[in-house]
Subunit: 346 residues, 2 copies
């Protein structure tokens, strides 16, 4: 795509337009704000695949009636260290916010605590979900399943979801180290964007519908993605299915795929979130400085970049310059919001 | 190695000889039995790299005085859902047994609970550590760091340990699904055995001391192993460092390497263990059958084998036929035990 097809938009404008579009399609104000917030956060951090690119899917799932845009999540305590947050068929962000608010004090009280999110429609980046917990000084781990997209190691058909996992560690001054990675070799959103833009992919990302390896993103979308790292990544994907679905009574990816109406929006499913208070594990005084020494040694190795470093750089740059979006994507969002496009070209 | 260099030995004999050898080198009866038990379990399951092959390292670390063969682990409750088990500088197996005994009822009470093992010397297979918890109906996850062996993605020098992770899920009738995998592309024990036997390795396992990719196991042992799956496996290795060391106040792999006396035995370090009671996560009645449906669909895909399937097959075969060991390895163990070799050749 040439730069003349791109526009430069501030994060506040992206959030505002997304919020209006969601509200026009059936979200109440709180849900619209929460969902627009996770898309804006992805754009702010330079992650196009989880940014405004997702708006069409969110809107489709409201229009089809699959997702309840006015759902109010509720929280229940299933065991001393276990919460269940029921999204009641709404989008995940509002339920996630409630889960964080309830989980943080519980993790501080118990040392470790879990939140099982059920009946949510999740479609966004995981680091956005856990960053507030990590900024507050907690260690966090989260996983979610999806719909069948990834062939287990040895197989030639999709069965696992892309099954992302994120892990976050608190650093000084509210800084964080968060990695967020699909169990698939590549995030599905990136493959969709490559297909849209006509780019080839590196080998190892996926296979076509006959099970033959290919670098054509369109063929992979009709075939199957591959797990990262062969059978070991496949085992991680299986663990994600078991935690985000099996443990908490939610559909596995293969079940979610069968139940979904294929409107292009997120399926209904579960999400598993764990938080640990590092002050309760035996090194309350030392853990922060100790981990900093690890990060310093690691970042000091030639060729190494800490997880999240590129995201932090993007955030600083985009905060001052705005996000560069495909003009067509922005115009569609503006149209969905019932507003008038008037952005300066980037 | 030709079959004439191999001997066939029963698991009971392996356990007995290992136990005698450990007792002769300074373990008390309980520690000797616990350590011999984990080596025998690895041989029973067909995992040579964590079986009697490890005896020499265990004995060396007793002789050097690095490990206290008569240590008695102790347990403390750091928070409502967090235990600390202190190995007081002994081998891990006795501390692990205490951790399991204390963690299982706590996980049932709290829904989720963690055990931080500190000041242990761990040298064995992780599936052996969690299998009793999983057989008792709990979901378990464990990780441990080691000494610097693995180059982080992009780096050319060892920094992470091999950093294994195991995850287990209970199945009907006390059966289990457990995967146990190093964050390295290949377990170090397998590379050591390939070097011993003069075998080449597949590409992607490691680099030589100059940072150049190689398939020669001896060169990799002098250089660095590589993580599985590139930067994603490297992120998993980082998470293991943070949980098994940073969170619980124990040395990172790079610190353990600097502290270790290089006697060939296990370094002193930490071990992180989590247990979940699936009856406390919202699907007490359904979780077992639900997960079985996942396993059945997965195993029904052409080309797929469930994690742990080969281990179960090995176990059935070796229980009736015995384990096939290099004759030299067996003779050295027998000699260390002060017994007389008299096994029939396999």
């Amino acid at each position: 795509m040439s730069t003349s097809d791109m526009v430069l938009v501030s994060i506040a404008e992206i959030r505002s337009i997304a919020q209006s579009a969601l509200a026009k399609s059936g979200c109440d104000a709180e849900n619209a704000a929460a969902v627009a917030g996770v898309m804006a956060a992805a754009e702010r951090d330079g992650c196009a695949s989880h940014g405004l690119f997702r708006l069409a899917g969110y809107l489709a799932s409201l229009r089809s009636g699959k997702v309840n845009g006015t759902a109010r999540p509720s929280v229940a305590r299933l065991a001393p260290s276990v919460l269940q947050v029921d999204g009641h068929g709404g989008f995940a962000p509002l339920a996630m916010s409630l889960a964080r608010d309830a989980l943080a004090p519980l993790a501080r009280e118990q040392g470790v605590a879990a939140a099982a999110l059920v009946n949510v429609h999740h479609f966004s980046a995981l680091w956005v979900d856990i960053e507030p917990l990590v900024q507050s000084g907690l260690v966090a781990l989260c996983v979610t399943a999806y719909m069948p997209m990834v062939a287990p190691a040895g197989a030639r058909k999709p069965f696992f979801g892309t099954n992302p996992m994120a892990f976050g560690w608190p650093r000084r001054g509210g800084e964080t180290m968060i990695f967020d990675q699909a169990s698939a070799a590549m995030a599905r959103g990136e493959i969709m964007i490559a297909a849209r833009d006509g780019h080839q992919l590196p080998p190892g990302v996926g296979i076509d519908a006959k099970g033959t390896p290919t670098t054509d993103p369109a063929e992979i979308l009709k075939g199957a993605q591959l797990p990262f790292g062969g059978y070991k990544g496949s085992a991680i994907a299986l663990m994600v299915e078991l935690l985000a679905a099996g443990l908490i009574g939610q559909p596995f990816s293969f079940e979610a795929g069968a139940q979904d109406n294929q409107d292009g929006g997120p399926p209904r499913g579960g999400y598993f979130l764990l938080a640990f208070d590092p002050a309760r594990f035996g090194d309350a005084e030392g853990w922060l400085a100790h981990a900093e020494s690890l990060f310093q040694h690691l970042a000091g190795l030639e060729g190494v970049r800490l997880p999240g470093d590129r995201r932090a750089q993007n955030r600083a740059r985009i905060a001052s310059h705005g996000a560069r979006l495909p003009a067509k994507l922005w115009e569609e969002a503006v149209r969905a919001a019932g507003a008038h496009p008037g952005r300066s070209r980037g």
